[in-house]
Amino acid sequence: MAQKPSLLIVDDEANVALTLRMVFEREGFAVQTANSCASALKLLENGNLFDAVITDLNMEKENIGLEVARAALQLCPRPAVVLCTGYASVDNSAAALEMKVDYLATKPVDLDDLKRAVSRLMAWRRQSGRGNEQQ
């Protein structure tokens, strides 16, 4: 049986994390959640590999989700990285572009759009071998 793709969801709002977990488990992902940047960084630094990471932007501090994205983007194989935020600004969006974040979703997130984006990124990652190269 094929292994399920793995997904890390990072959000300090428990209900958001739980909803996304249910949505993506239904899409066939093995989902882990973290409720802070610090918890997410522990997971990412402890050798856990993820095919995709979806992170909120503002948690313990403003824009701290960029730290989660940065850590995820340094992994090899590199996961697809999605930022979700209700507080997108020119500065944090420009930082995300420069870091090569794969997708920026603005809240309220359209779940169908998010599912499509993650699915497309996973397919592209498989076909292009993009996950196997460092930033």
């Binding site: 997108a88 020119v90 969006s93 420009a94 572009l97 997708y103 920026l104 592209w124």
Partner: protein, 140 residues
């Protein structure tokens, strides 16, 4: 036995304005690139089926010729290692979101000078890997 290595880089330039196309063509040829020019979406899409691109510079507004953002996304899908630059009239959250979600490497000011764009691109992505062979040009 020797191997042939592709050293010439190819740039796709998509802009509805002919004078802008010429300016970018001159700037890229000056850096040793082969340039492929397109004024609209269908021509650009056809070019994607006929060439391998290292760089694409695309205007976000192609007038009646189409929207440049989805084209940037297609280039990124087909050539994941290509540098994809988009010329945009403003840097807003929506512009940056479109760039991220279409795999764009960098946004450039649409009013900017072509030489500046090519120099910025070289500095950002290509460094010292500029092509050393004779440049050529093909206009679609």
């Amino acid at each position: 036995m020797s191997e042939t290595v592709k050293t010439t880089k190819t740039a796709l330039i998509v802009h509805s304005d002919m004078s802008a196309l010429s300016a970018f063509q001159s700037a890229f040829v000056g850096k040793g690139y082969v340039t492929i020019l397109a004024r609209d979406l269908p021509t650009a899409l056809l070019a994607l089926t006929q060439h391998f691109f290292d760089v694409a510079i695309i205007s976000s507004r192609l007038g009646e010729g189409g929207d440049g953002w989805p084209l940037a996304g297609v280039v990124h899908l087909i050539f994941p290692r290509a540098f994809v630059g988009v010329l945009a009239p403003e840097t807003s959250v929506l512009t940056l979101q479109a760039a991220i979600n279409n795999g764009v490497t960098q946004i450039f000011d649409a009013a900017g000078n072509a030489e500046q764009v090519v120099n910025a691109l070289s500095a950002a992505q290509l460094g010292s890997e500029l092509a050393s062979t004779e440049p050529g040009t093909s206009i679609h």
